[in-house]
């Protein structure tokens, strides 16, 4: 579960966006590009992590379950409990696949791949 920073439970979406993300091996795997929200429920669908590409060109995106993000103060970024190999084999998306359609396909693929218990069941 995303841990509290400075003993607060609340975090502004605008502060999450742009935060660096590291894997368990300490490797920077990208940064949070956005947070996908569900308009039909009260839920955060997933965080969108961008990696690769240059100035947004050729960039690919992972959908990562919100619950997998742990903020590490000393690192100034989130750590996800996934190895480099796991991340490299993870579903990647173009940004329009995440925002177009209903978003559920990318969400379901992400929770399935990372074996994170779905919040919607």
């Amino acid at each position: 579960m995303a841990t509290a920073t400075g003993h607060t439970a609340a975090i502004q979406a605008s502060r999450v966006i742009g935060t660096e993300v590291y894997n368990t091996e300490g490797k920077n795997i990208g940064r949070i590009e956005d947070v996908m929200l569900d308009k039909t429920s009260n839920n955060i669908m997933f965080a969108v992590i961008g990696f690769g590409g240059f100035l947004g060109i050729g960039e690919k995106y992972h959908a990562i379950p919100w619950a997998s993000l742990d903020y590490e103060e000393h690192r100034g970024g989130y750590v996800v409990p996934f190895s480099k190999d796991q991340l490299q084999a993870a579903p990647v998306h173009e940004i329009n696949e995440l925002t177009g359609g209903d978003g559920y396909k990318a969400r379901d693929a992400s929770y399935d791949y990372y074996k994170v218990p779905p919040y919607w069941i």
Copy 2:
């Protein structure tokens, strides 16, 4: 409940931020300054609506339950089912009251005031 735009359930937090908000009488009551996320669960705590002030000086903030926001395509903004009187008497906060502490006090006051069923019970 926040309704779907273009038949999608997913909406990027970065697109929500900056969207204008209207009340049931069609009056513009402010704009969405941010979306507060709960780090300890999978939930959206509330939307932060800014109103009054000038260039951010003297601005006050409402915490509005996510479920109260309905996107109206023709208006290009969200409509909340609250009257002008209701909104004028609603709890207002300084931005640091929303982000500091644990965020639950502002959240609870908001859901209580607007009589929106709490998502956390």
